[in-house]
Symmetry: C2
């Protein structure tokens, strides 16, 4: 039997950076050749980066990507890698419309092209909107073996190109599969099903790295024809997994669930900072758990010395808050500043007659102005420590230091998990004989915005453990009031949470809407209607 | 020949407000019956409002809409309108997935249902993402005539349900067609083509009103089998257009192009304010043209006494700016306030060592904090006067008074058109013997942010007439650098504008991104990648 050696090049690409992505293909193809590979497979849309959204609709971008593809083919041959089969992803074109394409480069030329058939159009995916679907399957020959080639969603749908493949020795899949909690098992089980269908192993190569609000976790793998996992690559790092067809390969143990989420957050922030050309971040440190965890994530992502932590105490700030902020900054090695807000708050209050929520919000917004000023002066990316529970319920000030800035590491992490991740991170440090980054009292004290005397979150919200359960059902799983009551939740709590979420729906859309009056606007920014009077009956 | 009387009920619905939308159906059905109609036709998705985006995916919402539909059928009969044929739009269900549905209510029951076949998935539309397509055509009988029924996009695509209709006496189309500049002609020409295909008149009923960032302009009409326009409804108002099959009907003259855009902006703002439960707006008045036009639009939308205009002069503000702001406020009857920013700016500067852009941005953000404080205290919706040219080029401070708030009337209006609309509005006032709302000097003086001495926009940007031409080609029409040069634009200008736009791309996304780590996040907020290193070659 023929046994080609296949290298799975799990790399981190950047959307739009065709030059750098092409250079990465050449470098990793060299590594694959050095490892004796006959074929190296890259992730989905390698040259263009993924997901490219409406960039796909720009003809000049498609021309640029095609030029980079041809140059890459030539350069590989010039590098002495013409004998290596190289499968890369890029953008193609069909009847004047873009396609999501896999390309076989060999001998200095483009030897074959495959356009993705199934274009996902749900969740974070908009591919049916921008791409034209492919119609034909692709089989390639490498070192005497016949390999089927498909792209990501093609194996998530029954039927389609996989069912058209006959007698292949392996099925190769280029993926850009975003991280979701627990998705690893779903992927391997799905691949096992396709392996069974085709009677051949499945080689699954995934993208790794943060790209905008998506995190790609890598975790590439191979399953045998019988569905057994034969080889695995680690998550959250670039990696070359080398596998000989028909043989068992190297495997790594799966990550602890909390570690997996934590590393996803670190990867997302690190990618966003680097790919947008920043080297440092700034955030407010309140002494509370959200900013503490955010700062710890930032320190793990880009190094503690690149984190600017600004304590901005008010007359309502407790001593323990100030102490905890300073302690945290010291533990992670942050660049720590103290900027009391009293003089600015006084200046506003001397001129504007404010009380209640307006006076509370003022303090929060003065902090945001300070952070943005520091960012403007020194070039840091401002990051927002707001968590998912408070964003969902609107328990936050619009344009405060918790919600402004370019990236919010905890935007999709509820408060219960914030605590769990903080504990995991500290335990992880202890396990390694290191100083835990997060002060214990930041984890244990009752959460408070400290915008008025004695304020705690639970004055306004149900206990977080309960709140987060209701949010999970209502927001994540789109359950209605009837379903929530049927689960046994207290009707008063359900009604409180639903009212908060529905009210917060438009509050979360801080960037102003504007009317669409010309043929093309800047693109629609959201999915849920901002104006909706629908209330759960 | 049979001649039913058809009433086109061009009404303004609100997304999610099934109770109010149902009440509107009953009220307008009564008016149609009073006018002797045999059939009344409402716009697309009447009961649910349109567009409902991911609300469609919430099962409890679908149940609520279905209950409202059945109640509406019963109520119409109870109202003595059982003999009237009533075509309404709503959300349906097919194999557990939502559909975009038209329903015939008659005799107190749901007599027939039609699911939209063609689901648009481009521009502002996401329907293929959320709806399941229909498969069957629908013909109904009204007063002895046979009428084909389709929905909006069904007539924009060749083939499909229209081609399946045989020997109908008219084709009735329920629409939710958003306003675009010059779209009126496109609609009537398209309807004429379908009329020719089916050999029957086309009855085109469109939604009216502002819904989030979309404006629906109404402008319902009827074209005869030969393509002649037989009847038209006015734009931007609710209206009942009554037409006897085969006869000419009433017609209104088309609007002047500037008036059409201006009224679209007024409609968009009015709908957003009202549907979100506000009665008043607040904005900064700088004396410049953007805030002047925005205030005039607001006064036309909700009345000048409901507009709070806040002058926030700094040491760099010219006397003419302060005078022009006060003059404008007086002309439109606004609630005018003056809040000098020097004390707050001084408080920040005493503590933070700022110069250059950081010092300029500080002033702009202090204004935003004042506006938000007034909004919090008094309950006004903050609106943002930023225009499309400055948003596209990033010539604005993030979180300043020009970009914060819930709605930006000029977000999709470039600077050249800002001036054109200001002139149109003033001339319109003169034509009607009224005081022009906008001070002439706000229109004629060179635009300036007044954040440093002697600053004018053209220090940093090409002349607006040229800039807006380049933006139109690059942003609106997605042309590349090569195409722009081929049009004869100065390469230096092209490179300057492209660099500004590419740099501003992520700046416009003020709401922080966050990583997606759980199975469902809050929904993706954008289409273009935030992180992209693609630069026009």
């Amino acid at each position: 039997m023929v046994r080609p050696r296949i290298a799975l090049a799990q790399i981190d690409t950047c959307v739009g950076d065709v030059t750098q992505n092409s250079a990465a293909v050449r470098a990793w193809a060299r590594r694959a050749a050095d490892a004796g590979a006959d074929l190296v497979v890259f992730p989905e849309m390698t040259l263009t980066g993924y997901p490219i959204e409406d960039l796909a609709l720009r003809a000049s971008f498609r021309r640029g990507a095609e030029a980079a593809l041809l140059e890459t083919a030539t350069a590989l041959a010039d590098d002495g890698l013409g004998g290596l089969a190289v499968l890369v992803g890029t953008i193609g074109e069909r009847d004047g419309r873009p396609t999501n394409q896999a390309v076989l480069l060999r001998g200095g030329v483009v030897e074959a092209r495959y356009d993705k058939h199934h274009l996902p159009n749900y969740g974070v995916f908009d591919e049916f909107r921008i791409f034209s679907p492919g119609q034909d399957p692709l089989e390639i020959e490498v070192a005497g073996a016949r390999l089927g080639v498909v792209i990501c969603e093609d194996i998530w749908q029954d039927g389609g190109p996989v069912s058209q493949l006959r007698d292949v020795d392996a099925l190769v899949v280029l993926n850009g599969s975003p991280f979701e909690e627990g998705k690893g098992h779903v992927r391997t089980e799905l691949a096992a099903r396709r392996a069974h269908e085709t009677g051949a192993p499945v080689v699954y190569v995934n993208l790794v790295g943060g790209q905008d609000d998506l995190v790609f976790d890598g975790g590439s793998f191979v399953v045998g024809a019988d569905g057994t996992v034969l080889a695995t690559a680690p998550q959250f790092v670039e990696h070359l997994l080398v596998w000989d067809l028909g043989e068992p390969g190297p495997q790594v143990p799966p990550l602890d669930p909390d570690e997996e989420i934590y590393r996803a957050l670190v990867t997302g922030l690190a990618g966003y900072v680097r790919k947008n050309g920043f080297r440092s971040v700034a955030l407010g440190l309140s002494g509370g758990i959200d900013s503490a965890l955010t700062a710890a994530i930032a320190a793990d992502a880009i190094g503690g010395t690149n984190v600017v932590g600004v304590s901005m105490p008010s007359v309502h700030s407790s001593e323990h808050s100030k102490d905890d902020a300073a302690d945290l900054a010291k533990r992670i090695g942050a660049d720590y500043r103290v900027q009391p807000i009293k003089p600015m708050v006084d200046a506003f209050e001397a001129q504007l007659d404010l009380d209640g929520v307006a006076a509370e919000n003022l303090q929060a917004r003065v902090r945001a102005v300070i952070l943005m000023a520091i960012s403007n002066r020194e070039g840091h990316l401002v990051i927002a420590p707001g968590n998912k529970s408070e964003l969902a319920t609107g328990y936050a000030t619009i344009y405060d230091a918790g919600s402004i800035g370019g990236f919010a590491p905890l935007k999709d992490v509820d408060k219960s998990r914030v605590w769990a991740l903080a504990r995991w991170r500290n335990n992880h440090a202890v396990d390694r004989g290191e100083l835990p980054p997060i002060p214990e009292s930041s984890i244990t004290k009752p959460p408070s915005a400290e915008l008025r005397p004695g304020q705690v979150d639970q004055d306004s919200l149900p206990p977080y453990a309960l709140l987060d359960e209701v949010l999970d059902a209502y927001v994540e799983h789109a359950e209605g009031r009837a379903e929530l009551l049927a689960r046994g939740f207290d009707p008063a709590v359900v009604d409180q949470v639903l009212a908060l979420v529905d009210r917060a729906e438009w509050k979360r859309r801080q960037y102003p809407l504007g009317p669409k009056v010309t043929a093309l606007a800047f693109g629609r920014d959201r999915r849920l209607p901002v104006t909706s009077r629908w209330r759960e009956p």
